[in-house]
Amino acid sequence: MSGLLAALTGARPLLLDGGLGSMLIARGLGGGEAPERWVLERGEEVAAVHRAYVEAGADAVQTATFGAHPARLARAGLEGRAGEVARAAVALARAAGAPFVIGDLGPSGEYLPPVGRADAGELALGFERLAAALAAAGVDALHVETMSDRREAALALAAALRAAPGVPVLVSLTFERRPRGFFTVMGDPLVASLAELAAAGAAAVGANCTLASSDMLELARAARAALATPLVVQPNAGRPILEAGVTRYAQAPEAFAADLAAIAALGVEAVGGCCGTDPDFIAALRRRLRAPAGGPR
């Protein structure tokens, strides 16, 4: 069993990191500029964010490869550089000294019919290339995340399992709260979608982005009640608010940490943050997860 798989099924929840893109923006990454460009050109900034999360107590950091699907890199002016980005991103994450490094696989940015015209085979090939490069660079696991179409998540998962045999693959979809429950924007329902991904070989399944921690707590309850597969949950820090031209998120670290501790107490195996969360959120959560017996978990 890989070290990360053991940690996923251990007595304590695995603490992931928080937002990366929002942290890089705070360090001057321009609007619409690809973080992957910073991986190649300003690696010290990316490394500093990883280090801050490790210092905050994260057990695992996720590589700055959210937008490194070859199709997405091409649109960002980085065509053909997925392998190079993957190698550099893993080295930056590894240098931060985290116990685990998780290779991040974000959406391709293209849409399958009927919403778009993407070809499933081409999308899969892109994920395969990126997953192979991340695995070759020595990641402990891969995380397919922020997927709003379970079909893309499933093909990314299959591609990762093919390209990186033996490397555990976590899969997170992005859900919205709709009148009839939690669904992706494409209409994929919570439990059925996660069950399908678990059956397809995901080491853990769950949700990240869009939802705030209070909604994510409700989602986690529903998922835990239905699924025995390890779960991974990474909410946003509330909703983004723009003040005087600067983006900030609505939630304070302690409120976030309280909800996430409750999520962990449900038996959710991996927790962390998404957009708007920073090392303060992870540090607040670390303090709660270390609470003595009688505290959460």
Partner: protein, 213 residues
């Protein structure tokens, strides 16, 4: 036309069947029937159904996209008949639309463009990653009364403010109004920068109509 035909038109849009919608529209044109009634009592009723089903949580993005495409197909087939009847798009007004500079998100903006066109606006879609100057130049070239700008990132929504300022600085007469939307935007944000606001693609049509007063 009888109720059964209107209901078929409505169902074609509601079910996202573009081929059926186009065929029904073509039959209206071929028989010289009332194209405006076909829109109002048939196809547009269908797109309103799509909106209701979405609000109820029954429909999701794929159904919205397919419904809008069916509506667009019907409107394209009806265009010659509508033009003869004096109900041409220009009467509803021209709209320049795009996703702002630095932002590649295309779906919501394209859905708004399709729905505006389906409701009789003449739409000039500049795509995504559109610089402020390109919006202004296109508004000038087309005589559009509305510039609609989508932003899906908190980092790019500030460009919407730049756009409002640039449109104001260009001194259009009659004035050009800016309509904004996208996940991170809000009524409060739109009010702050002096733009109209649409919470989602289905509301954008009413918002555009309101801006034209």
């Amino acid at each position: 036309m009888d109720e059964v035909r209107y209901e078929a038109m409505r169902a074609a849009v509601r079910d996202g069947d573009a081929a059926a919608a186009a065929a029904l529209a073509a039959s209206v044109v071929a028989s010289g029937e009332d194209a405006v009634a076909a829109v109002e009592r048939g196809f547009a009723a269908g797109i309103r159904d799509v909106g209701v089903l979405w609000e109820q949580g029954e429909y999701f993005l794929p159904e919205l996209v397919q419904g809008a495409e069916a509506m667009k197909a019907a409107m394209a087939a009806l265009a010659p008949a509508l033009a003869r009847g004096g109900a041409a798009g220009a009467a509803r007004g021209r709209v320049v639309i795009g996703t702002v500079a630095g932002d590649l998100h295309d779906i919501g903006k394209s859905l708004v463009a399709t729905l505006l066109a389906a409701h009789g606006f003449e739409v000039f879609d500049l795509g995504s990653d559109v610089p402020v100057e390109a919006f202004v130049a296109k508004a000038r070239a087309t005589g559009a009364r509305i510039v609609a700008a989508s932003a899906l990132l908190t980092t790019t929504m500030t460009v919407q403010r730049d756009l409002v300022r640039a449109i104001a600085a260009a001194g259009f007469e009659p004035p050009v109004r800016v309509l904004v939307g996208g996940a991170p935007t809000s009524e409060a944000w739109a009010a702050e920068i002096g733009a109209g606001y649409a919470e989602n693609a289905l509301r954008a049509v009413a918002a555009a109509e309101a801006l034209l007063g």
